[in-house]
Symmetry: C2
Subunit: 250 residues, 2 copies
DNA sequence: CGACGGTTTGAGTCCGGTCAATTGTCGTGG
DNA sequence: CCACGACAATTGACCGGACTCAAACCGTCG
């Protein structure tokens, strides 16, 4: 889920980073766990000590369903899809992650999902065992995680409503709007949405097929609600109309 | 989600309850937060101090989407449906709760769902403000909550897979099996499932209609996979076949 | 026993899926 | 710079599973 911006605490409490890499990863810790509100420097310092950097190519799977859940991740840049597979290959994408999002909260022994980079991705990785020890020393970090998990849960329930009860149109519209909201919180233009995932990914996220996704986009464009620039850029042309559509008003 | 049984810690650390009522509610706190592993008596005692009992009639709504989230709940007995509504009345049930389950984890200011009793229900209620203060004093309780939330999250993702990618048949079969599992952990017969919800509730949980739910039950019976005794008792007759069906093996 | 709500069953429709062909996009190498 | 290949996206025709509408059938409780 979306996490809020620039952790001021970080820039106050730490010396200037030696390079851009370190800087990015430094922020990553703050973003994952401080959630806008300042976190005591002690906690941040401890987190910094156990964090590890990881680069992932586009298309690379870095979490595999069923594997031992050894790490907790935080996305520094790029985008990621998280999904579950059925034996016969059917796929449900349970979420897309962007800069600032975390992954691996599940305190199960094994991952219950897979994760694959949609674009080149920079990650911060926290070994779970060390993170857990850290949580014991700094309960405030645990508090943050609980808040994050609660928000995740609320979002998951919203997605259930979408999957179970919305039409194809409504699903697509809700999706575009939520990406717009997300883009706005990250600091971009809330009306211009850049799709880093394929139609097939969108379909697997919304419980549809690529064809239906494509048709829905076309229809929305022909009605003047959105504009398309190539396949991956969507401009929200009539937000109000879309917000009505998402809730079923026509 | 399912919580494990009899917290031994409780009976060791507290004097025998003066009546059945108190006894039930005493256990409720333990169940909600100790999750099988023993919890220090100090924490249990603190929880006991802030808990409140609440009885709810069948059909009564005790949590309303949008209302201020003042309480954290734990179901002592009975069953509950948790759901979200759309403006036009479409409904998505996001979960059913049974004895031992908790509700209200969301650390948002307002509830993002409604909850209604399916049967007469006994609840333990913890005022959120007091609970939060308690979490600060006893981080171990927070740890338990985080674990619970993680499990909830995994279950929610599994439900997304069901809603987005499974056929009506597969949905019903998965549902029966999960109720069976749940019944087994509570201590009942894992093969005999008692449905406390209507067909319409099941439909709103699985993203179907009552008619489709009914037809699926009928078909499963005619094929010999289940037996029906009235509308609310389901006997799992061929678990193996059902487990295959749930995953799409024909 | 009768009434009411929930459930089952039936007939017909439609939304979204399937299959297939075409068009578009982008990176690569001639 | 353009031609090519590979893959993604779009479009079209058709199909079918789940929905809708409607009627009949319980079961439970006054």
């Amino acid at each position: 889920m979306s996490l809020a911006i620039a952790p001021i605490a970080a820039s106050r409490h730490f010396a200037p980073p030696v390079n851009a890499e370190a800087h990015a990863c430094h922020h990553c810790a703050a973003r994952a766990l401080s959630i806008c509100s300042a976190m005591p420097s002690q906690e941040l310092g401890a987190l910094a000590l156990i964090r590890q950097r990881q680069k992932v190519e586009a298309g690379e799977t870095f979490v595999d369903e069923g594997e031992a859940a050894t790490h907790f991740f935080n996305v520094t840049s790029g985008s990621v899809k998280v999904y579950k597979l059925m034996a016969d290959g059917r796929r449900q994408i349970t979420g897309f992650l962007f800069a600032g999002d975390f992954l691996g909260l599940a305190f199960n022994d094994n991952y219950t999902y897979s994760a694959e980079a949609l674009t080149p991705v920079n990650l911060c990785r926290f070994p779970r065992r060390q993170l857990e020890r850290l949580l014991e020393r700094f309960p405030s970090v645990e508090r943050k995680l609980l808040t994050l998990a609660s928000n995740e849960l609320a979002a998951a329930q919203e997605q259930m409503l979408l999957l179970g009860r919305k039409s194809a149109q409504e699903k697509i519209v809700s999706f575009i709007l939520s990406l717009g909201r997300r883009a706005a919180t990250i600091g971009g233009d809330g009306d211009l949405v850049h799709l880093t995932m394929t139609r097939s990914d969108i379909a697997d996220y919304l419980g549809l097929t690529t064809e239906t996704v494509s048709r829905a986009f076309t229809l929305l464009r022909s009605r003047g609600f959105i504009e398309l620039d190539g396949a991956s850029k969507v401009l929200i042309a009539d937000r109000e109309a879309l917000e009505d559509l998402a809730e079923g008003d026509a």
